[in-house]
């Protein structure tokens, strides 16, 4: 077990001008479960591969424990990796797959068998040890890939979207199993996903990347409650945060015919760049108010989920210059008697507004 740190690490692919990972600075504590999340092409997998030694580091450095591994090959880094498509050796049995790394490390046959069996027991694979990957289900293959990582007892686990090939139900189930396994083993883990729900539920901390640049790295709670910029605000949370941009006026931000109230000093700082302010509010921070009070919206679609309901609405009097006004999502009590096409008025809870500078996209408190 060890700490991991990225120090100004960059990766520029040949024939590309923009770095895939741009001066990444990240400290990962011993035993921590850190999730790298972002949309596709944000550099999260590249960062992981740089840590694994499968991708060159063009500038900066990567340190595992107290060892600078920037130029070391993967086998000298004492890491184990779980690949998106599992990358099981097709001609080897489950036992051979899990024991391959131990065999290469020159560990005796008996000890290899013991360690593979232990890992198989943890992962409920004992009955499948003599099978080939071909004869396993997707979930079992995924567990073999996990097993191949844990038998080695490495300093760091690297996982590259290990759940993306599973069906939705199995994914939720395996998600909790991986998190529990990681807590039990206490091994530092870096986990890459594009799924923000996975990121929020599994990680001790979550690092959000976009275009190769780290946007914010913090606990799931802080990311949700205090997103550092408009991108993180829109990326974390499902359904996403409602974001509207409008002119700063006396008392708040003009959105359509209504004004969303923003405290004066916050408003002044947010509007400093170009007079426009982006405000965000989460679906659950919205109340239905009486006619004429707050934002007038028209309901487009009602989604009944049983435990709650989501109203997908748009501003009733949307002027053309309002960005992100296509959908304002509202969470309500289930079975609220609301129909498509109905006009409603929305109010936001006090203190629930997130305020961003519309130009720099940064959060203003």
């Amino acid at each position: 077990m060890a700490t991991v740190s990225f120090q100004q690490a960059s990766r520029i692919y040949p024939k590309s001008e923009r770095p895939a990972v741009d001066s990444l600075d990240l400290q990962i504590a011993d035993g921590e479960f850190l999730v790298l999340v972002g949309p596709s092409g944000c550099g999260k997998s590249t960062s992981l591969r740089m840590l694994a030694g499968l991708e060159e580091v063009d500038s900066g450095s990567i340190v595992i424990g107290d060892r600078d591994v920037t130029d070391s090959p993967p086998k000298e880094r004492d890491i184990a990796m779980v690949f998106q498509n599992y990358a099981l050796y097709p001609h080897m049995t489950v036992e051979e797959n899990m024991g391959f790394a131990l065999k290469l490390a020159g560990i005796s046959k008996d000890e290899r068998a013991t360690r593979v069996r232990e890992a198989a027991k943890i992962l409920d694979l004992s009955d499948y040890l003599s099978r080939r990957p071909k004869a396993l289900s997707g979930g079992q293959r995924q567990r073999v890939a996990m097993g191949r990582a844990i038998v080695r007892n490495p300093q760091v686990f690297l996982m590259d979207e290990p759940l993306s090939n599973l069906d939705a139900k199995l994914r939720v189930q395996t998600r909790t199993q991986i998190a529990a396994l990681q807590r039990r083993l206490g091994t530092t883990t870096v986990y890459v996903t594009h799924d923000q729900v996975e990121a929020m539920t599994m990680g001790d901390r979550v690092a959000v990347l976009k275009d190769g640049v780290l946007q914010q790295c913090d606990t799931p709670g802080v990311l949700y409650d205090r997103p550092a910029n408009v991108f993180v605000a829109g990326f974390i949370g499902s359904p996403a945060m409602n974001l509207v941009t409008g002119d700063a006026v006396d008392g708040g931000v003009q959105v359509g015919s209504a004004v969303l109230p923003v405290p004066r000093d916050q408003l002044t700082r947010a509007a400093a760049s170009n007079g426009k302010v982006t405000v965000g509010f989460r679906p659950e921070a919205v109340r239905l108010t009486g006619p004429g009070e707050g934002l007038p919206v028209r309901v487009n679609v009602v989604e009944q989920l049983g435990s709650d309901a989501f109203l997908y609405t748009s501003l009733a009097d949307a002027p053309d210059d309002v960005l992100h006004s296509a959908d304002l999502v509202v969470r309500t009590e289930p079975r609220t008697p609301v129909a498509s096409g109905q006009q409603l008025w929305l109010g936001t809870d006090h203190g629930a507004l997130h305020v961003f500078d519309a130009q720099t996209q940064q959060r203003v408190d």
């Binding site: 090959p73 690949f83 498509n85 191949r148 028209r298």
Partner: protein, 303 residues
Amino acid sequence: MATLAIPATDTGRDTPPAAPATRRRGHRGGSKAGKPGPVTYTLLTLVALVSIFPLYWTLVAGSHTNAEIAATPPPFLPNASLFDNFRAALDQAPIGKAIINSVLVSGSITVGTVLFCTLAGFAFAKLQFRGKGLLLSLVIGTMMVPTQLAVIPLFMMIAELQWVNQLQAVILPTLVSAFGVFFMRQYLISALPNELLEAGRVDGASTFRIFWSIVVPVARPAMAVLAMLTFLTAWNEFFWPLIALTTANPTVQVALAGLGSGYVPQRSVIMAGTLLGTLPVLIVFTILGKQIVGGIMQGAVKG
């Protein structure tokens, strides 16, 4: 906006009954394609007959005398003179030695070609190194140079090495082939996922270990095909062995060339000798054919 929502739910309600119908239709089409009709069988039988006939004619002609073959109509059934003709052929040329020589030569060339082409194909397919594109085009470029052009310099080289009439003179020049390198490269590019190699590297394997423990098992079906092709080509090779070897130490094809020579070519002896020279290959592929095809199928399913 409200109208937008209504068709959406409508299509949603329509989808479930539609789905089984499509599946049924797909299944019927599939079973039709799976069962070939009488036309297919007739065609396949014809093709098989046409392919088998030359071999059968070798047997028939090899088991008659020259005069009997020349008769009208020609004989269509084998005859007991086959063994007399075998004896005549064995008297006229060292066919036994030639078969042993051919097995040695073709076997070494096959092992060498499969090993070296797999190594080079793997390097060209998956390793990153400077000048890779240029080297590959050079390798492919050699396919465009006719063998005949190389014969004189090659002969001068083996003469210098005093290898004339030695088996290594026919083995060494063909131990690796440009076609084989390209063939293995193409196969490995598609059949070997990069993640498998990366998993090997993370597991701590050296490049050679990755080749031996991961690449070779994955490449096995293509290696079998290459082995089959190479063995046949080497067995049938005539031009270069005729130059490099003598009739005292020949391969099968060189020995056959010395058969039935004289004022009137003895066709029946030539045919009997040809049959002797072909039998080992036939036996090998009758026995191994199933395994080779099996290997190909297994690889296809494993993907």
